[in-house]
Amino acid sequence: MKRAVPLGVAVAVAAAALSIHLVTAGGTTARSGRAAVTHRGGVPSGAVVKARRVALAGRSAVLDVPASAPLLGSLGAVAVPSRDGGELAYNTWRWVKAIDWQQSLGSQGIQTGDVLGTPTLRIRDLRTGSERALEPGTFSAAWRSDGALAYVRGVTPDYLANTAYLRDVVVRASVNASPKVWTTSPGRYVVVGWAKHTLLVAEQNPGGSADLVAFRGPGDSRPLAISADFIAISPSGNAVLVAESYADSAVPAVREISTSDGTELARLPLAQIEDPVARTAVTWIDGPGHWVGNRIVMPASSGLLVLRATPSALAVEQVIHVDSATQPNGRLWEPRFEDASTRTVIAWSDLSGGQSGQSAELACDRYALTCVRGPAVPFAQAPRAIFDESGGE
């Protein structure tokens, strides 16, 4: 009898495992594993911008100026749609001269303090096709549900070589309203999104990671998370997900934080998230990710990570290993669920080897564990996702 009980349990576990395997093999649930990547000419694109070409909500348009955000980089979306879909705020950049970036700036006669370039946000009315530029020195935008627009504005219009580019956070009640400064002093701010009527901003530290700061209005701010990379805001706007890194902590974790008071709602150490192929814990998690329902997809050292969040817990739903994403310069950027079913994730990646300098879109079926890679395009035309991380009304 003593042996029969464990035997019965073992049979039950085996049966359960077999049934799970059959279900997943049928392609109706998500499981962790290696995604097989195939190449195809066309990929089901999400909302993307490729330099001047925009595809959004079934419509296409050609922007007046190529979308580009070298200073914002991987910290936010290059193009951000308003909540009603009528307008698109997008980042642009103008270099003052051609630069050979393999060489040093000084060897090309560029000294510390010389103007390198100018960021400028532009607003396109998607209904009329008209465009206008905001102030020079502006970048990084997010729309509030009532049409208010938040962004950052440099203390100088131009970015100066080898210097800190300090900027203020400004908010317009509408695109046509005058900008109001919300920061009490300029800093290295990047707008990450609205959580209801609270504006979340990442404050970068020179040589260090960023802190997440919440603004309720002009001069009214408080820290939400120290040394934490922003990942996503919940659809309700009640919570934000951030990730710590090994650069700042020996035991980094993904953290779910209340946007109202900064309380930690849940915590999941990276050491508990296993790459299903390498059989080791993931070494980094980054944003921006995408939060739909209670699922969040984000880039990770394995490729992609999907978590499930509740108001009090975080759990791993799926770890997808994409071989190319584990190689230098191969990570996946800006993953987005294609729709509310959360079955398909669309991301993009830079290519290596003979296709170095080019990028491609990937559409990954989470149930089938397959990714279809689109055609390679020059990095300047990388298919960057159009999104706004903001959540809540």
């Binding site: 070298p70 200073l71 980089g73 991987s74 910290l75 630069i99 050979d100 970036w101 393999q102 060489q103 040093s104 700036l105 000084g106 060897s107 000294q111 510390t112 390198l116 970015y159 070589a161 080898n162 800190a164 580019y165 970068q204 530290n205 020179p206 040589g207 260090g208 990671s209 960023a210 990379d229 890194s245 090994y246 650069a247 700042d248 902590s249 020996a250 035991v251 070494t283 980094w284 980054d286 050292s301 190689q327 230098p328 310069n329 191969g330 990570r331 830079d350 170095s356 300098g357 020059p378 990095f379 300047a380």
Partner: protein, 192 residues
């Protein structure tokens, strides 16, 4: 062998760029292997012959990922850098002590993001000491190999036996180049 070959190429490349009035010049070479186990050399070179007169190498780290375009996370992008400042007692909020500030760099060979405010540094206080108030990862305390991870800069150890690697590199710089504060040392770091 590969490392020696790289240094030899660097030495040859540096000769035309060197200041004709100086007998030697000092430069760094950083070879990326992994985030926590790469290799940094500091070199003193004869500007006329290109010969490497002195060299010291250290284990070094950079970034938490190997994607050089990941702002605040990726390891240092490849290419040449100027050194635009050297400090023995830097007093930043996240970086303190002995540090070299690097020029800006656009990743992916010049097509990607602009990486700014990059440094070579360690985890130490502004007076080159250690501040280890907690059993966790303190920012100005070298606890171990995890400290080679960085937010994109190059990191050298401040670990026993002393002098530490950051101290040796600083001593070499002070003896061979000697500049401190803000200046521009053209093409003084090569990252491969």
């Amino acid at each position: 062998m590969r490392r020696i070959f790289c240094i030899a190429i660097l030495a040859a490349l540096l000769v035309p760029a060197a200041d004709a009035h100086a007998a030697t010049r000092t430069f760094f070479a950083f070879h990326r292997y992994s985030n926590t186990n790469s290799y940094l050399t500091i070199n003193r070179q004869d500007v006329y012959t290109g010969a490497i007169l002195s060299q010291q190498g250290f284990r070094a780290g950079s970034g938490t990922t190997t994607d050089e375009c990941a702002v605040g996370q990726g390891w240092l992008p490849a290419g040449w850098y100027d050194i635009v400042g050297h400090f023995d007692r830097y007093g930043g909020s996240k970086i303190q002590g002995r540090a070299w500030q690097l020029s800006d760099k656009r990743c992916y060979g010049g097509t990607g993001n602009l990486r700014t405010e990059l440094f070579i540094h360690s985890e130490e206080t502004s007076d080159n000491g250690q501040f280890c108030p907690t059993p966790y990862d303190d920012p100005f305390c070298w606890e171990g190999d995890y400290d080679y991870y960085s937010n994109g800069c190059i990191k050298l150890a401040h670990a026993q036996p002393y002098p530490s690697d950051i101290a040796k590199a600083d001593n070499d710089w002070d003896a061979w180049d000697g500049r401190s504060g803000y200046f521009t040392a053209y093409s003084t770091l090569f990252v491969s």
